[in-house]
């Protein structure tokens, strides 16, 4: 981290005053961002206390009455709530499927792209593959409707022409999950490959030459040189993804859900929105949010710990 050293300049020995006289500008520049972080990131951490208290709109956070069961009332209530259990299950299963299909996709794409010998063609493929990343989830859902609606969607029109009945991709719960995961892969495989392509570019080319001399074919080189070469990157990204296994973005599931699939689509963030922002159950939903943050942090730390134990680089 400390790349900028002071070696070129003589060390200043002086009081706090002379130090500040010289460096006050740096602190002045930092002031605004640090205040921002304090207000928008640290102050909400105080509000987390509401999870352990009875929310009362007329009182400040510290004056509110403690909740029953030593303050754990709302955590207990959450775990007795069928809707929450369902949201938790949906969150974990959708994230797990994302990990299973969405995680390897950019790696495979990067490996394939790396083998393309035509430079301009490769660049064109990349540009096209990055495109879905720039679409919002609302728009992606709008596109999905145009593709998958029974009888009017493009895919179903093609199927109907072939004499096959329409498939209900968006309103059959099981197929909705497939669509959700599929569109997730579609949106992120190209963008995700950027990191892996950079990692591949960093692999020492002598390794490939040596392997060629030893008679290794293309696929052998991919398996024995490229893949091990990008393993550190894969591990770091895997750790980050595991830390997010219980996290739930809001925009993607909320944009893609509809009334027919709520039993598979409603994840924790949607539960919090409906019970908290709309339903006003602030204590309950703060407790749920806290549970989510803490479990996420534990997963991240555990994944990092295991990875370092296995001799890989962690994220710090």
């Amino acid at each position: 981290m400390s790349k900028k050293t002071t070696s070129a300049l003589p060390k200043q020995k002086g009081s706090f005053g002379t130090y500040m006289k010289r460096y006050w500008q740096l602190y002045a520049l930092l002031a605004l961002p640090l205040i921002y972080l304090f207000v928008f990131k640290y102050v909400p951490m105080v509000y987390v206390l509401i999870a352990f208290k009875k929310y009362n709109i007329t009182k400040g956070v510290f004056d509110m009455e403690w909740a029953k069961e030593n303050g754990m009332q709302y955590f207990i209530q959450a775990f007795k709530d069928k809707d929450f259990i369902r949201a938790l299950r949906n969150t974990i299963s959708l994230n797990f499927l994302d990990l299973l299909f969405g995680f390897p996709a950019p790696i495979i794409f990067a490996l394939i792209l790396n083998e393309i010998p035509f430079k301009h063609y490769k660049k064109f493929v990349q540009t096209v593959a990055y495109m879905p990343h720039f679409l919002s989830w609302v728009i992606i859902y709008g596109i999905a409707v145009q593709l998958f609606t029974p009888s009017t969607g493009l895919l179903n029109m093609v199927l109907n022409n072939m004499g096959i009945d329409s498939i209900h991709f968006l309103d059959n719960p099981n197929l909705w999950v497939v669509t959700y995961v599929g569109l997730g892969v579609w949106q992120s495989f190209g963008w995700g490959s950027i990191i892996y392509l950079a990692a591949i570019a960093g692999i020492n080319s002598e390794l490939y030459e040596a392997a060629s001399i030893d008679g290794a074919g293309r696929f052998k080189k991919m398996w024995h040189i490229t893949l091990p070469g990008i393993k550190p990157t894969i591990v770091v990204l895997l750790i980050m993804n595991l830390g997010n296994i219980i996290g739930s973005g809001f925009e993607r599931p909320y944009a893609m859900r509809n009334n027919l699939v709520t039993k598979v689509s409603d994840v924790i963030s949607i539960y919090v929105y409906q019970k908290g922002i709309k339903g006003g159950q602030f204590s309950l939903t703060t407790a749920v949010g806290l549970f989510q943050s803490v479990v996420g942090l534990i997963f991240l730390l555990a994944a990092n710990f295991i990875s370092r134990r296995l001799g890989e680089r962690g994220i710090w």
Partner: protein, 290 residues
């Protein structure tokens, strides 16, 4: 390796073929959308529009363009995106620049203070209550200020600053430049690539985001485009958009929805290919931290 073996050539073509499939997978939905938005209703009702428009008609674009609410939301979002991007870039620079100096006392503590916010999020409700306390609810500021600094982007900028030769900074110092001057005259002009890449990240985030508006904004006047679009596509009755009159007519609804989606996507799709080399370096820098 001048002469390629037959199997290498064969696998070359295999990979090229896989990439063609990828291109088809990415582009077909967009082409279909474009075709629908430009087709006339009679063909859409008969389900005859695939990848080429049939019965050429721009009437749905005309309807969208004459929809005051939609157009207002469009320009409001353009304005918001520009303001957010500028404010965010300034905040990110202010945060990243001082942190590259090891002479900065308390730098480690500040770094820890910043990093903690990346790993622990208080959650939806605490954030909501904060906005309420700050009187930010229903104010346009809520769409700008709360998201004006991403620590992740700050780290990208900081690692870019680390890459700028220290000797430049020392030379400026010997010439009597203070830290403000060094930032403005040396670091900012040399940081165009990272600025372009982060500007794109912030702009795309603002253009595509609707979470904060849904949570904190009840005034329709300030709805960003994506939230309006969400309401239109899901037929939420609270929005009365002129365009929605057309939704009762079969066929026209489809072409209108397609036109609206196209219209909301085109600005970003026109920009990103030109910034490709910048965002690639941005993403890569984010991954290689130290």
């Amino acid at each position: 390796m001048k002469v390629k073996s037959v199997s290498t050539k064969l696998s070359d073509w295999l990979f090229v073929f896989v990439c063609i499939l990828t291109i088809i997978l990415c582009l077909t939905p967009m082409i279909n959308l474009l075709a629908r938005s430009l087709s006339s209703t009679e063909y859409l009702i008969k389900h005859e529009v695939y990848l080429l428009p049939k019965g050429w008609s721009v009437s749905s674009y005309k309807t969208v363009l004459s929809d005051v609410k939609y157009i207002r939301a469009f320009f409001w979002t353009v304005f918001l995106t520009v303001v957010c991007t500028v404010v965010s870039l300034v905040m990110t620079t202010l945060c990243a620049y001082p942190l590259i100096f090891s002479k900065l006392k308390g730098r480690n503590i500040i770094n820890i203070y910043i990093t903690i916010t990346m790993f622990f999020n208080a959650g939806t409700i605490p954030n909501y209550l904060l906005m309420k306390e700050l009187n930010f609810l229903d104010s346009p500021l809520v769409l700008i200020i709360p998201s004006c600094l991403s620590v992740y982007n700050m780290i990208i900028m900081r690692s870019f600053f680390y890459g700028i030769p220290e000797s430049l900074q020392e030379a400026a110092e010997i010439d009597g430049a203070d830290y403000f001057t060094t930032l403005l005259k040396i670091y900012v002009p040399l940081s165009k690539p990272v600025m372009a890449s982060l500007a794109l990240f912030y702009a795309v985030g603002r253009w595509n985001g609707y979470y904060d508006a849904l949570m904190y904004m009840k005034k329709e006047v300030y709805y960003p485009l994506q939230l309006l679009l969400y309401n239109i596509l899901n037929n939420v009755n609270t929005v009365e958009v002129a365009t929605q009159e057309g939704f009762s007519k079969p066929g026209l609804a489809e072409s209108l929805k397609a036109a609206i989606v196209m219209f909301s996507t085109v600005p970003i799709l026109c920009i990103y290919p030109w910034l490709q080399k910048y965002f690639i370096s941005g993403v890569t820098m984010g991954a290689v931290k130290e």
